[in-house]
Amino acid sequence: MAENTEKATIIVHSGDMDKVYSALIIGNGALAMGMEVSLFFTFWGLQRLKKGGLEKGPLSKMHMFGLGKWMINRKMKAAKVASLEKMIQDFKELGGKILACDMTMDIMGIKAEDLRQDLISDYCGVGTYLDDARDSKITLFIS
């Protein structure tokens, strides 16, 4: 394995389905290529870590009260795109870290027990993100 591991840190600010896909695809790709990866779930992104919430995000465009999402889901199934659940399980299996923004939890009245605690490595603030991001090769904000 490579000796000095490079890092990628990604802020998942959006809870839109397509954007959570982006975050997990990039995260899994980076892990597969030997990087260390942290995903910081904040604001609308954190909603997706609620129990039963992962697949609940709307499409960022052309959602059309769910019709657009239904159509895209069908096309994604036909193209054999993995589900968000499989992607997040792969992310964990490859050693990725998932962090939950505790300020979002306060604002939105989300308790730790409302969230998928099995997935979350830590509940933290901006300092933890910066501590990771300052020596990361890649850092992204998905809004």
Binding site: M1, A2, E3, I25, N28, M33, A79, L94
Partner: protein, 86 residues
């Protein structure tokens, strides 16, 4: 006491180190390759087959980034086979 040496030039691929990604799309072939490589011991050979065109280029990139040995990349009738030694 004599040192016991294990021959790492295994030319038989253990069944569990074969990864079938035929029909899978981004990022599954890359992710499944990495999962297998994490399970492999040093010297083990991982053989990945698939059809996703970009993965044929990207898996070798990952192999290079991981500092592992790319043994071969072949393709017949749109199905590629990549062999990697950990």
């Amino acid at each position: 006491m004599p040192e016991i040496k294990v021959d790492s030039n295994v030319d038989i691929c253990p069944a569990d180190m074969k990864v079938n990604c035929v029909g899978e799309t981004c990022p599954v072939p890359l992710v499944e390759t990495r999962k297998a490589l994490r399970k492999a011991r040093e010297g083990d050979i991982v053989e990945v087959t698939g059809t996703h065109p970009a993965s044929k280029k990207e898996i070798p990139m990952a192999v290079k980034a991981l500092g592992l040995k790319l043994l071969s990349v072949d393709e017949t009738d749109g199905v590629w086979k990549i062999r990697i030694q950990r």
